[in-house]
């Protein structure tokens, strides 16, 4: 009795009619936009493939990626990359296996899988960087890192269930180990880091350091003790009402004055981390506050009715639910931070954007107006990272949304 659904596959003609030439206005818009887009694509394509002098990027690709990092120590970065690949691959494998089991047991809903397509922006970035490097070894090393990552991914999928709760710790230990490979054992301290390496380091360090601080501020803002609340509100509103560059100025020019006599002022990179952390903590606090508000009052009442102490109620009942809900917001904040690290260029640190500016002043390229090439390259690097993360964050948001139902 039940008839099959009528075919909803439109022919190309029907599709064009419905989506491009639906009305007279639509037709006009379609024609105008086609002309405009053809022009834009032509100009962009011509610049990228014909006019641009990419040699400035090719010759400076190491500068752009690591800045003034000592060249004889570069092997440490490759080592760190391998360690990172291993730990992240392991984490992804273990987490994926865990989710698949939850889905199989009906404890989680399955999401359409993006698979490898989700990583396209990153692959694009790596491919372009390798292309600019112009030699074979980096490509082989990157392939090797992928291989290691994949091997540890397989290993991660075999994590015994009882060890699963240690996976995040293992990943964190891996990241720490990668850092130590670079900085410890007569290595290179972060005050010598530069380029894209510094960009990523500043963003990661600031978000990690500001997180606990931000959570405390958020709890303080929701506290029933007025004095605590006011202090936290004052901090949050002060730092959210002021541009980041003003705070970086403060960190650069003023930190020396705040220290007692005899204490040396920290390095420029450290000052930048302090500035970013103070700034980001205020934003993290507001994101976490949103998460705290999303926990129904009934949860607290239920915990109190069970006789849990206020401390236990907060740490065992409220925070776990609130923090789960704020993960997408935190990723968004991390993306902002990733883009905002470009500001340290104004105060003289050599992260990606600063290198992109400085190389145009090299003798070989001086006064040739090659700003556009280096800026487009920097934009591309920022864009791929930021776009990829915002996509993942939307995915996460959808998944958490599904979980709530």
């Amino acid at each position: 009795m039940s008839a099959p659904p009528p075919s909803r596959r439109l022919s190309a003609r029907e599709w064009a009619r419905a989506n491009l030439f639906g009305s007279r206005l639509d037709t006009v818009l379609t024609v105008l936009f086609t002309l405009f887009l053809v022009w834009v694509v032509y100009r962009l394509g011509r610049f990228v493939f014909v006019d641009a002098r990419w040699e400035i990027v090719e010759r400076n690709i190491t500068n752009l990626l690591v800045g003034g990092f000592p060249r004889d120590q570069l092997f440490r970065l490759w080592g760190a990359l391998f360690v990172l690949a291993a730990s992240l691959g392991f984490g992804a494998g273990a987490f994926g296996a865990q989710r698949r089991r939850e889905v199989a047991e009906g404890r989680a809903e399955e999401l359409p899988r993006g698979g490898v397509r989700r990583l396209v922006p990153l692959f694009l970035l790596v491919a372009v960087l390798l292309w600019f490097s112009g030699s074979v070894e980096p490509a082989l090393l990157v392939l090797g890192a992928f291989g290691v990552g994949y091997a540890f991914n397989l290993l991660g999928q075999r994590t015994p269930q009882r060890l699963e709760r240690f996976v995040p710790l293992a990943v964190l230990a891996g990241v720490l180990a990668a850092f130590l490979v670079v900085a410890a054992f007569d290595g290179v301290g972060w005050s010598l880091w530069g380029g894209f390496l510094l960009t990523v380091f500043l963003a990661v360090a600031a978000i990690l350091l500001s997180f606990p601080f931000g959570v405390l501020l958020a709890l303080g803002r929701r506290s029933s003790l007025p004095a605590v609340r006011w202090v936290c509100v004052a901090y949050i509103e002060l730092f959210r009402g002021v541009p980041l560059i003003a705070i970086l100025f403060m960190a650069f020019f003023m930190i020396g004055f705040f220290l007692p006599e005899g204490v040396d002022a920290p390095s420029l990179v450290t000052r930048a981390i302090i500035g970013f952390t103070l700034f980001t903590a205020a934003y993290v606090a507001e994101i976490v506050r949103g998460g705290l508000q999303s926990v129904p009052a009934g949860q607290v009442e239920a915990a109190q009715a069970l006789g849990l102490s206020p401390f236990r109620t907060t740490t065992r009942i409220v925070l776990p639910q609130a923090l789960r809900a704020v993960i997408p917001g935190l990723v968004g904040q991390f993306i902002s931070l990733y883009k905002d690290t470009s500001l340290v260029f104004i105060i003289g640190l050599t992260e990606l954007l600063a290198v992109a500016q400085n190389v145009t002043k090299q003798p070989d390229f001086l006064a040739q107006g090659l700003y556009v090439e280096t800026l487009v390259f920097a934009s591309f690097v920022y864009w791929t990272g930021s776009y990829w993360m915002s996509r993942e964050s939307q995915r996460l948001e959808r998944r958490l949304g599904l979980g709530e139902r």
Binding site: L20, D26, F33, P260, W383
Partner: protein, 392 residues
């Protein structure tokens, strides 16, 4: 029974008394915070004195020692005056930026919901591009990649003798008063009054007969007609001042300095991409049932948007959009990277000259706080007026 009553009225020992504990905890917290702040301030004062740097704000009366391009500010004027010029420049770029970003953002946000596939995708590409690149990179691109690459003044590009574009800036035609301005002012008042009258008449007619009022069209036409007649009748008191390209500079017209133009365009494009997402989200957030009810009543597509969807979307979008305005004001501080003399650049140059860094940066932060609080206050007023009646 009596025992139970007694135990509830008896006061607990003070270390278990919730009321006492609250006071103690707060006192300890405040003491700790105050102690930290005092410790830092003490260090600052000590360090300043040790290096012989003045501790007050008297430095604002010192001569600046630098000039500000594109303004009347002379280097002999005080640092305080320089800061005021900086504040003005911040406001100049922020106000126009807010207008441009809003117009562009609303257009793109609506385009993202277009039924036309090409329009929809183009808007999406715009948003995804500008949202994911640091605003500082966009500012530098417009300054280094576009503005200063324009032809030198001798080869300035002119369009219809109205606009002159060169690496010294963009010059647009401006009005120049040559006759009786006051008389024309009266005419303008009359025009506005006449337009308002026609507006009221069309509204009343619509109320009486129900025929379409088209009051915007009518009022606009009346306004233009009266202005045009009055302009001729008062002897053409204004002329259009078009730019003249000279050897080293342009004269006439209104010049947008390259720094200003780059910052304005970059901030507008960047903020527009965020506003577009808010507009799109707000329209989508108006409950589906509202559109269905409007359809079921037989309202046309335009009427549905005009009477039902947009008023509600507007209400939803006010807080996040005002937040974007705030971001735009704060991002205008990045003018410092291209030497646009807004308040941050002035502060930076002041410090490089002679101003004490601690006070100058504290003052800078206070100025931005004042901007933020102003915008927040305006938002609160607007928000309160828009809150749906009956919602708790």
């Amino acid at each position: 029974m009596t025992a139970a009553t007694a135990s509830t009225t008896r006061r607990p020992p003070f270390w278990r008394n919730v009321r006492v504990l609250r006071v103690v905890v707060q006192a300890v917290f405040v003491a700790a915070v105050a102690g930290l702040v005092l410790f830092l301030l003490d260090n600052v004062v000590y360090n300043l004195e040790r290096r012989g740097i003045p501790t007050g704000f008297d430095y604002l009366r010192q001569p600046a020692g630098f000039a500000i391009p594109d303004s009347d500010f002379r280097s002999t004027q005080s640092l305080g005056d320089a800061l005021l010029v900086g504040v003005q420049n911040t406001i100049k770029v922020a106000l126009l930026g807010i207008v441009l970003a809003t117009v562009l953002g609303v257009l793109i946000g609506v385009a993202r919901l277009s039924t036309n596939w090409l329009v929809r995708k183009a808007a999406a590409v715009y948003v995804e591009t500008f949202r994911n690149i640091p605003v500082l990179v966009i500012i530098l691109f417009w300054y280094l990649g576009v503005m200063i690459r324009l032809p030198p003044i001798r080869e300035a590009v002119e369009a219809l003798d109205l606009v002159a574009v060169s690496n010294r800036g963009i010059v647009i035609p401006w009005f120049d008063q040559v006759g009786a301005g006051a008389a024309f002012g009266v005419v303008a008042l009359v025009a506005v009054a006449a337009a308002a009258g026609v507006w009221a008449w069309r509204t009343r007619r619509f109320d009486r007969t129900g025929e379409p009022h088209r009051r915007g069209l009518w009022a606009g036409a009346v306004l233009l007609a009266v202005l045009a007649t009055g302009f001729v009748a008062t002897g053409r008191p204004w002329t259009l001042d078009t730019p003249e390209v000279g050897e080293l500079s342009t004269s006439g017209g209104f010049r947008l300095a390259p720094e200003y133009a780059a910052l304005l365009v970059a901030l507008s494009l960047y903020t527009a991409s965020h506003i577009a997402e808010i507009v799109r989200g707000s329209i989508l957030a108006v409950a589906r049932g509202q559109s269905e009810a409007a359809n079921a009543l037989g309202l046309s597509g335009f009427q549905r948007m005009r009477f039902v969807v947009l008023p509600q979307a507007f209400r939803i979008s006010v807080p996040p959009i005002s937040n974007q305005y705030l971001n735009l004001v704060k991002n205008s501080s990045l003018g410092v990277a291209i030497s646009y003399y807004e308040v941050t650049k002035v502060t930076q140059v002041s410090i490089a000259q002679s101003a004490p860094a601690v006070q100058a940066i504290a003052l800078l932060m206070l100025i931005y706080l004042a901007f933020s609080l102003t915008i927040a206050a305006v938002t609160n007023v607007v928000n309160r007026r828009l809150t749906l009646k009956g919602r708790a």
